[in-house]
C-alpha cells in the first residue's frame, strides 16, 4: 500500500473524471492505491466532478467501505449476518476482538490489524466466513481464527 500522495491522488481523479457516474470508481481507485480516502482530496474531487464538497463528503461517508484513515497492515473482515450467526460467529468475533484488543471497526494499537464487520460474503454454506486481506476462509472457528491471525503476524 502506498502512503498518501496528493499528486498521485489527483491524477487518479483526473483519469476517471469523465466516466459516467465517476465518483464511486474514483473513490475505489483511491482506496485501492492508498488504503483509504484522505479527506484532503475532497476539494479536488468536487472540482473535477463539478459537485459541492458536501456532496462528495456525503457520498464517502454514506458507504461502509470507504475509510477516512489508513487501515492496519492486515484487514480482517468478519461476517456477522444471520447465516454466520447460526454457526456461532458471535463467539468467534468475541474471541478475535479479545485476542487483538480491538473491536469491529477498529485498528489494533500497533497498526497490525484492522477488524471490520461485513454483512454476508456469499459463503453461507461454509459459515462462519471471513476475508483476510481479500482472501476468503470458511468454517472459521476460534482456533482457525487464531491460526490465521498468528500466520498473518509472522508475515508481518
Amino acid at each position: 500500500m502506498q502512503a498518501w500522495d496528493n499528486e498521485r491522488a489527483v491524477s487518479l481523479v483526473e483519469q476517471r473524471k469523465n466516466m459516467p457516474g465517476a465518483l464511486l470508481p474514483i473513490l475505489h481507485a483511491l482506496q485501492e492505491e492508498f488504503g483509504y480516502v484522505d479527506p484532503s482530496v475532497v476539494p479536488a474531487i468536487a472540482d473535477a466532478l463539478n459537485l459541492s464538497k458536501a456532496d462528495v463528503h456525503g457520498t464517502i461517508s454514506f458507504y461502509h467501505d470507504f475509510r477516512h484513515h489508513p487501515p492496519g497492515r492486515h484487514v480482517l473482515k468478519m461476517c456477522r449476518a444471520e447465516s454466520c450467526q447460526s454457526m456461532g460467529c458471535d463467539a468467534v468475533i468475541g474471541h478475535v476482538e479479545k485476542k487483538l484488543g480491538a473491536k469491529l471497526g477498529e485498528t489494533t494499537a500497533d497498526g497490525t490489524f484492522t477488524l471490520d464487520a461485513v454483512y454476508c460474503l456469499g459463503n453461507c454454506s461454509l459459515s462462519p466466513a471471513v476475508l483476510l486481506d481479500g482472501k476468503p476462509y470458511g468454517r472459521v472457528s476460534a482456533q482457525v481464527a487464531d491460526f490465521l491471525i498468528d500466520d498473518a503476524r509472522r508475515r508481518a
Binding site: 465517476a22 465518483l23 466532478l49 460474503l121 456469499g122 476468503p136
Partner: protein, 511 residues
Amino acid sequence: MKLFVPCDMAALSVGADAVARAISEQIATRRLDATVVRNGSRGLFWLEPLVEVETAKGRVAYGPVTVESVASLFDAGFLDGKAHPLCLGLTEEIPYLKNQERLTFARCGIIDPLSLADYISRDGYKGLQNALKLKPEQIIEEVTNSGLRGRGGAGFPTGIKWKTVLGAPADQKYIVCNADEGDSGTFADRMIMEGDPFVLIEGMTIAGFAVGATSGYIYCRSEYPHAFKTLQRAIAIGYEKGYLGANAAGSGKHFDLEVRLGAGAYICGEETSLLESLEGKRGQIRPKPPLPAIEGLFGKPTVVNNVISLATVPIIIDKGAAYYKDFGMGRSRGTLTIQLAGNIKQGGLVEKAFGLTLRQAIYDFGGGTATGKKFRAVQVGGPLGAYFPDSLLDTPLDYEAFAAKKGLVGHGGVVVFDETVDLAKQARFAMEFCAIESCGKCTPCRIGSTRGVEVIDRIIANQDRKKNLEVLNDLCEVMLDGSLCALGGLTPYPVLSAVEHFKEDFHGTAA
C-alpha cells in the same frame, strides 16, 4: 487428461488453491500428461474442494480433497477414476445433483468460466442467435410467456418490465444488472458470476436487443472481489472476440457492458438506490413513480434485473417459453435457485422447479443441521424474510404460498438454525441490521429501526413486556405501511414472525 479444481470463492475458502498447487506438483513430479482446469463450483459446498477427473465414463468426483490427500489420490489412480476413500463416483450421479433441475446453472461448475469456446460448446449464445431472428416484441413475448419473475426477491414479471422500457421513447436506454446480492444465506448470483459469466453477458445482450438499449452495467457488490474480477475478464474477452461493442455477436447492433463495484451498502440492492449509486451518489431510495423503466439510470428508461433473472433469459430464448414454463407451480414458473445455508449439513445450491417444500429442501437435500442438534427455525429470503418453525416446513417454495404464511421466498436463501438459537436475539438483530443499513430517506425505517432495537431490548430485559410487545407491534405496522422501500417495509417480517412462532423466547407472551 483433464482435472477440474474449482476457483469459486467458497471452494477457495476451504483451500482449493492449495489443492490445485499440490495436484500440479504431483503431475510434474510424476511426469504425467494432465492439465488442471479451474472450473466454477457445482454448488455441493460441504464436499469442497471437489476435484473432478475426466474419464471415458464421465467426470468422477473426489471430495473434500485436502492437500495431504493429494498424493494418495494419485497413488490410487484417480486420474483413471479409480477407487479412493474420497471418491464420490460419477459427479452427475451424486443424488444431490442428480435430483436437481439445472437450467440457469446448466454449465456452472462444468466449464472453465473464462473459456468462450467451452461456453459455446455447451449451448452458449444459442439464445442470442435465436433472438436475432426475432423482433424485439417477440423476444419480450417469449420472456413474458415463460412466466419468468424477478429472482432478486420481488418476483415482478420480467417481460412486463421489459415491455415498459421498449415502449418508452428515448435516445438512450440502459440494462442494469443488480449483482448486489446482500441477503445473508444467498450466493447464487456469485456462483453464476464466478462460474459462468458469459451466460449473464448473453442475457444482458439479449435484453439490450429486446428493449433497444445499447449500454449495460453490472453493479457488483464489493464483498465479491472474485466475482468482480471474473466479470472484468469475461467482459474483456467478450469485446476481444466481438461479442460486445459495435456489431455485438455479429448482430449489427451495439451493446456495451461495464462492471461497477458497490461499496458495502445493503440498501444498494434496492433498484432505485442502486441507480443512485451507479450515478455516483449516496445510495438513497428514489420514491416511485417514476419507475426506473421510465426514468432510470441518468434519467433514461432502464431495465433493472437480478443476475439470475438475466442469466435465465438465454435458455428461455434458446429452448422456448413453453419449455421453461413447464417447470414450477401456480404462478411461480420455472426453477428457483435455492441456497441452503447456515446450520445445515449439506449446504449448497439446489436449482429445482418451484414447489419443493421447505422440509424437502432442508432434509432431503440439506441432511438436517450441521451441528446434529435439533432443528428450531429457518429464515427464508434473507434478513427481511420471516422465521419459520417446524410446523411451517411443509410450505412449498412458491411466491404465493410463502406470502400466504406471511413469509417471502425472496432470492431463495434458506438459513437453518438449531435449537440453540434465541429468536428474541434474532428479532433484535433484524432491527439492528435495518438501523445500520437504512439509507435514511424515510422516517419509519430510519427512526423505527433504532426504536425497534430499544423496544426489543426492553422485552428481553422483561420490562413491561406486555406493553412493550404492543409497542413493537405498532412500530412494525408503521414500518410495514409507511416505509418507502422493502428494507423498512419488510424488516417487520423477521421480527413479527419470531414473536408469533417463538413466543417462549419473548417471555411467553404473544404480541
